[in-house]
Amino acid sequence: MCLAIPAKIVALLPEEQNRALVEVAGVRRHVDTGLLVDDPPRAGDWVLIHVGFAMSKISEEDARDQIRTLTMLGEAEAAMQEVEGYGLGET
């Protein structure tokens, strides 16, 4: 559970504080960006997400590295399951 999942910020949700819509391998989910308040992400940025929260901003290249790591570790499917589980069936 220490592995983090890379996601691309699609949009920030102005109606809710610190919420963003992200995309992970074609799946869109809401995540909380409250841990990035000191350097808020913008649409198009890549972030690492962990238990529904964006933990840190990363470069697109590092995001691709991280996707490969998850795949190599055999964790990609578990990661997708986790992402699909966020938000009780949102979007």
């Binding site: 841990l35 962990h50 238990v51 929260f53 933990m55 991280q66 490969r68 190599m72 055999g74 009780l88």
Partner: protein
Amino acid sequence: MKFVDEFREPGVIAKATEEISRLADPARHYRFMEVCGGHTHAIYRFGLKDLLPSNIELVHGPGCPVCVLPMGRIDDGLSMAQDPQVIFTAFGDMMRVPGTQGSPLEHQARGMDVRIVYSPTDALKLAQKNPGKHVMFFAIGFETTAPSTALTLMRAKELGISNFSVFSNHVTIIPAIRAILDSPDMRIDAFIGPGHVSTVIGCRPYEWIARNEGKPIVVSGFEPVDVLQSIIMILQQLKAGEAKVENQYKRVVPWEGSRAALRAMSDVFELRPYFEWRGMGFISQSALRLRSAYAQWDAEQRFQVPGVRVTDPKAAQCGEVLKGVLKPAQCKLFAKECTPEHPIGALMVSSEGSCAAYYNYEYRKAGALTSIGAPV
């Protein structure tokens, strides 16, 4: 060697292993501890042990949240959910971890309202959707996860959601490393530092390990190349007679960590005077409880907590394996009574537990099972 073809750059791996062989002193036996369970998983998954000279031993550390949780805490959490008004929520990792009367999943089969959540915010939403019920979130994890629980509690307070509580089992990594270094039966030459915990706490909290204990520590990423490069960095330090904190995982880990995450943690949590760790006993100031400002959302304040202390099954040697004194296969129950399908101890449950990792990769590879290298 099964997974070598999955490596991004086999050439880089070969160069890295050559460099390791060059740096390692054949007259010395090295013991490096990988603190994080994610690294343990990666090391077994990629068969990295086979790529290292035989005098470099990797020792598995305590960084697997479900593995270090004493069985009594699982029983305590489940006892709160005996009340039919209570919905028990936890991450999937927790669901198959055995308590004395069975795992959360087994309690679910007996009628308890047990639900898997992927985020603490899901548990909070569940509370909002079920105003007639009380939703208790069984929180586990190191500093990687604690800030998310903290922000969820801050939101619960802001929104005045009163039918939600957190049973905090959050632990902190530094006291665990200290306990290992203080343990008389443990000799570690250097540490492969945790990756994602360090995105939160940064690299400074490790400085005492280098300064006071004289041991190198290199914060590492999770790819095979990352782990091998971290081992090179450790060997270079040892060869030069140095002990420093280095950051191999700079692309993700900032030296200073995440101020916002640390702020959220300290706003909501305070250190417990002591906390019991499975196999390691009571460790001072090693776990987090909710501050009094959050008492209303603290499951330990809202419910009667039996505070049971359960001794692990006598034959199981989880403690010795957790501390790195025994290898998984040296436990009497390994692959006999205790398997991933029927785990006796939590180390066999989580993919980050060294027993499960060893069973799925090493043990199967050894031909004990036919599905060699099958993804799990």
